[in-house]
Amino acid sequence: MATVDLENLTVRFGEVTAVNGFTMTLHQGEFIVLLGPSGCGKTTTLRCIAGLQQSTSGEIRFDGKPVTRLTPAERNIGMVFQFVSLYPHLTARQNIAFPLRARGVPRPEIAAKIDSVAKVFMIGDILDQYVVGLPPGARQKVSLARAVVREPDVLLLDEPLSGVEEQYREEMRWELRQFQKELGITTVHVTHDQREAMSLADRVVLMRDGKIVQSGPPATLFDNPADRFAASFIGSPSMNFLTLKIAAGGLGVASDQSLGVSAPQEAIDRFRAQGLNEVILGIRPHLVELANEAPIGQNVWPAQLVDAVLVGRNLQAEFAVGGQTIKAELPSDAAIGPTSVLRLPPEHCFFFGPDGSRVG
């Protein structure tokens, strides 16, 4: 259990900068999720903390002590990979005992430690089974138990759930979070699955092109995205984006200026001051409202129904508004017709510049 400092961490592979000046402090016991698309540098960052990857520059400290030049074996870390890497010819118990035996821990102490992790991971009943016969979820629990049994300073998880089938993954997610809280080990988890990040993290670190885009509690990333990339990456179904034009009369949908958009005058003045002609409006599908009774006006627009599918008890409907697409998640009994009226509550609208930066 340790505080981990990453200072200005940079990793270059030839011309490519995989991690670019990554700086952050991981607090003791914190569950950090590094989230981002393939190639964003999240796994390279994790491998640097593990010592599997040497950084080009920058420093890593565990509880203030530099570990940057130490080998993985010299750092006190536990690691679990996407693909289960247990010894198939050993039982779960022997697998978990392995790192302790390698360090010459006395037998009674090994037995006691295994008992205690088995309790946390609820694997007491499978300890004496060979790991080959176990279902994937159980095997990954054994991997986790082995990683934490020698009480590492930091637990590093490289997509440990993506090899687990969807139907068990949800349950594993819930359990993983519980284990981590119970053990209190500083944890770094890498994933491209935003649902996993939302569910597990105390703090989500969203990365793109080797840099941090946004870092904060899951709810903050959802409610207050730093830019258009963060807005589109977090949340499912994805946020709607509409291109707006800034005209003399105010804001309107670019492809149909008669569809007015409400925004504080201060914001419109600011857009103009920044020399913007266009801005992008973002709104999450579940916050779009059906307002067939409301008079057409700012943010209340006629919309043509394009498609609707029932997903569970919700209707996911796609509308065309001034030639652009708006998706809405509505109750299954919503009165949608070929032409409906949609309302975009101004308090739920975000504004982004053409470069994707958040402007309002």
């Binding site: 359990e175 935003q194 939302m198 498609d307 997903v311 569970g312 299954s332």
Partner: protein, 375 residues
């Protein structure tokens, strides 16, 4: 006017002593997207391989647009297939890969038409900018789209997609689901979309066939499956979270759910012929379960076990007796494990399943729309 493009009856297929498929009946009408939903090993791939002709069924008939193709070579069935591991030709450009089927002796078309079809398929799948690239210069998601475009360019009678998106990351998968849906809408293409993922299937399909252990458990629109699930396994495979399945016993002409404070007379469930001592499973869709954080009349106490924050809301798991229930709630504040919450179950919304075989026990004096499907 809906015409059956595909009609499969009594399909059986075994590998050695093991039955992979047992009496599968599937019918797909023109312009429809049928979702084939089931866990890994359920028989989805075997079903699709029988339909495409890559497997020879042990019994049953397969009719395509009215004609029996059971013993017809896959070459001439006019079905296009996309499997998870896309087999693109690495030495050819994206354009040539998509054009490939149209250059085969069987489907050959004039060069001008070929160009138009490739261009259009590439536009549909938003890969126009990649046409000149070699397939090893593009990403996994792009390759998957090329594979779909290559199948699409042929305008087959039927299009089979076998977990086409499951190797892609979540955001890309969502984008491709939208594109599939869009493509179907604009072209009226008939397709079967096999997946183990409920949300993905629900997002793409207009009708869903639930398959498990080589048996088709139920086929219908999602709303029909919600209204009348045919089997306990259907409840486990449908929904997000899936159906809450609660262990219960018949005692003194009442049904009592383990750990739940209230017992219901069998008349409330219209299942008066159930014998005392019978074990059953009672299913509720999570959306039909009321859950509150403070004690209230008619609510039974439970313990909060886990929470799963989902951005806009959170899913919770509560335990009572040997039972557990998962449900999405709109409360976004932190809830602690072990805290008390309270549930209320409405017998009018209960689905009762036989234990242990999982068959649905339908209310007496009423024939459900899907009656007999699971028997």
């Amino acid at each position: 006017m809906s015409k059956a493009v595909l009609d499969v009856r009594g399909l059986k297929k075994g590998f050695g002593a093991k039955f992979a498929l047992d009496r599968i009946d599937i019918s797909v009408v023109e312009g429809e997207v049928l979702g084939l939903l089931g866990p890994t090993g359920a028989g989805k791939t075997t079903t699709l391989r029988c339909i495409s002709g890559l497997h020879k069924p042990d019994a049953g008939t397969i009719r395509l647009a009215g004609s029996d193709v059971t013993h017809v070579s896959p070459m001439v069935r006019d079905i296009a297939v996309v499997f998870e591991g896309f087999n693109l030709l690495p030495t050819l450009s994206v354009y040539e890969n998509i054009a490939f089927p149209l250059r085969s002796p069987l489907y050959r078309v004039p060069e001008a038409e070929l160009r138009e079809r490739v261009t259009r398929a590439a536009e549909d799948l938003r890969i126009s900018h990649l046409l000149d690239r070699s397939t090893d210069q593009i990403s996994g998601g792009e390759r998957q789209r090329v594979a779909v475009a290559r199948a699409l360019v042929r305008r087959p009678k039927l299009f089979l997609l076998d977990e086409p998106l499951s190797s892609l990351d979540l955001k890309l998968r969502e984008a491709l689901e939208n594109e599939l849906r869009d493509m179907h809408r604009r072209r009226g293409q008939t397709l079967i979309y096999a997946s183990h993922d409920f949300l993905s299937t629900a997002a793409v399909a207009s009708r869903i066939a639930v398959i498990d252990k080589g048996r088709l458990l139920q086929t219908g629109k999602l709303a029909e499956i919600y209204a009348d699930p045919a089997h306990r396994r259907v409840g486990e495979l449908v929904g997000s979270p899936s159906m809450a399945l609660l262990e219960a016993k018949i005692r003194d002409r009442t049904l009592s759910i383990d750990g739940y404070s209230k017992a219901w007379p069998l008349s409330a469930l219209r299942l008066e012929s159930l014998a005392n001592g019978t074990d059953v499973t009672v299913g509720f869709w999570p959306e039909d379960i009321d859950l509150v954080m403070t004690e209230a009349p008619d609510f039974s106490p439970t313990t909060l076990w886990a929470t799963d924050f989902r951005g806009r809301d959170q899913a919770v798991e509560v335990h009572f007796g040997a039972n557990r229930v998962r449900k999405v709630i709109s409360i976004r504040t932190d809830l602690a494990r072990g805290q008390s919450c309270f549930v209320r179950l409405d017998p009018a919304k209960a689905f009762v399943f036989a234990s242990p075989n999982g068959d649905r026990l339908r209310p007496e004096g009423r024939r459900g729309p899907g009656n007999g499907v699971a028997s």
